[in-house]
Symmetry: C2
């Protein structure tokens, strides 16, 4: 099923819907795009490599979904509105059937958020997917990492540890719970929380693990944080599949959930909860920002939880 | 020499100069950028994979240069002014010395054109470099592929076949001419031609081979073209290293020169030449746009030149 690069690009181009602010999309040396007046451009870029960011044997549609999802999650973490993306696809061989299935997942998520695929390239190489996502935000409204303040409450969306739970089951070689697997393969970028995040001070998406990612916020902001293990939101699937100690490790240190972790002033608690409810996304208060540095996870009796190993690092993990 | 992902990113961040329109650069979930009013955003994305887009053993500084150059070349082919780039780097292992050398080449070219590196990621995987380049153009001023007209003259910048000549020498296992090798490893994005391209109708950069790339312009524009083999600009190094037949094949079908090929109305000939001279870039008139379809290369006696093989295709080549 060999096909040339241009056939693959044409195969992609045919499936991409139009968007009014795309002057010129796939098929030239570069895309031409209109950024509305009074908006800042928000640009995120993330790569998924086979065997590193998804298990070998992951369905191509799930790979397509996830490649876009992790980038839209970065825009969500900036409280940005997504607009366009570019896709660079390295494939061991030109396989139209694989490409079609990949696009099924990729374009399904793009359509959910009105994101136009406007360019990129296809090349020969080990399976690797690089995506750049572009969005817009009103000046001063982006949610940065460096604005957490002492006294802030700490929040997280959805549930934690599910994707890491699926990976743990996969590594153990046993059956993988379908609900956990879905969270690993098809993460939900929390773009729906954009309005709610107007009440937040600082935020990040949880890709490397809660403690590691909250640690980035704290380091950038010059503060510390404490989170309560018992407050970490837990899915029924995770609770059914793992003992409490294992759950805590997955929730505190496991990556790939792509939930949002953010801080907000205590007085914004009710407004935050209401805005999240209107968005249809569960959020949980899990801790607080304190003076100092570093992030500690605490048992209910105040003992500090100590991880058996650190956060997920793509050069170690 | 293992180092964690965050150390690599910090290593990159420390070396990147500021730019006034970058609200937030490396170090958050996404970059925040200001697009000036009255400009369209131009976005190009290209990946280089080891062993596919550069020979194994290429110096890391040259890989860094080339990874940015091929993207800036796409902006040059749109007659856009470059502004920002993002970089996704997949490395087999975290190697600070390799990264520093890579950045030497990458950032040297970025500095030449005032391009700010504003984000991206580093991941573990087979060596692969994905870059997204962002630039600006006045609305209606972008040089597209689909605007060539019957009667246009066809032009190319610089000289052709040098990069393919170096690759041919490398594949033959003999010595590689230094001047040819420099053209393969350190292509010059022809951003200096931006003003001159105001006189052009359509254009593309020569990455897949002259006939293939001019063929894309013709296909997009619904026209054909003829080019004269004797008019193709030839470097002294290429002329010294290859017999005329081999030269023609390298110039017509060899990729990786990253020169610009463009069409312009005959009456713009003098203005084009003057603008290119002011830019300090040699340009050569090599043929004309005709009715019909396809691109033919002609000997001086009118015989058609037939390639032994087609243009460079990353899925075949």
């Amino acid at each position: 099923m060999a096909a040339a690069e241009f056939d693959l690009i044409e195969r992609i181009r045919r499936r991409v819907p139009a968007r009014a602010d795309v002057v010129l999309g796939i098929g030239d040396d570069a895309a031409l795009l209109r950024v509305p007046a009074g908006r800042e451009l928000v640009v995120a870029m993330d790569t998924l490599n086979a065997g590193v960011h998804f298990p070998d044997g992951t369905a191509p549609a799930d790979i397509g979904w996830k490649a876009l999802a992790v980038n839209l999650s970065d825009l969500a973490a900036m409280a940005a509105e997504p607009a366009w993306c570019t896709l660079s696809l390295s494939l061991p061989q030109a396989d139209p059937a694989w490409l079609d299935a990949f696009l099924d997942g990729y374009l399904a998520l793009a359509a959910q958020h009105g994101v136009a695929l406007v360019g990129g390239d296809t090349t020969r190489g080990p399976l690797s997917i690089c995506v750049t996502a572009h969005g817009m935000v009103e000046p001063g409204r982006a949610l940065r990492r460096d604005r957490a303040r002492e006294g802030d409450t700490v929040w997280v969306s959805g549930t934690l540890g599910d994707a890491a739970g699926a990976l743990a089951q996969w590594r153990a070689g046993g059956a993988i719970d379908a609900a956990l697997r879905a969270r690993l393969d098809r993460p939900t970028p929390r773009l729906a929380l954009r309005a709610a995040l107007r009440h937040a001070h600082a935020g990040i998406d949880v890709s490397d693990g809660l403690l590691a990612d909250l640690g980035h916020v704290c380091a950038a902001s010059g503060v510390g944080a404490e989170v309560m293990l018992s407050a970490l939101p837990t899915s029924a699937a995770l609770a059914a599949a793992f003992a409490p100690d294992a759950q805590h490790a997955l929730q505190a240190s496991g990556g790939d959930d792509y939930e949002l972790c953010f801080t907000a002033p205590p007085e914004a608690r009710d407004a935050l909860r209401q805005a999240a409810a209107e968005a249809g996304v569960a959020i949980s208060e899990i801790g607080r920002v304190i003076a100092g540095e570093g992030v500690r996870a605490l048992h209910d009796d105040g003992r500090e939880w100590v991880a058996a190993q650190g956060g997920y690092d793509h050069f170690r993990g």
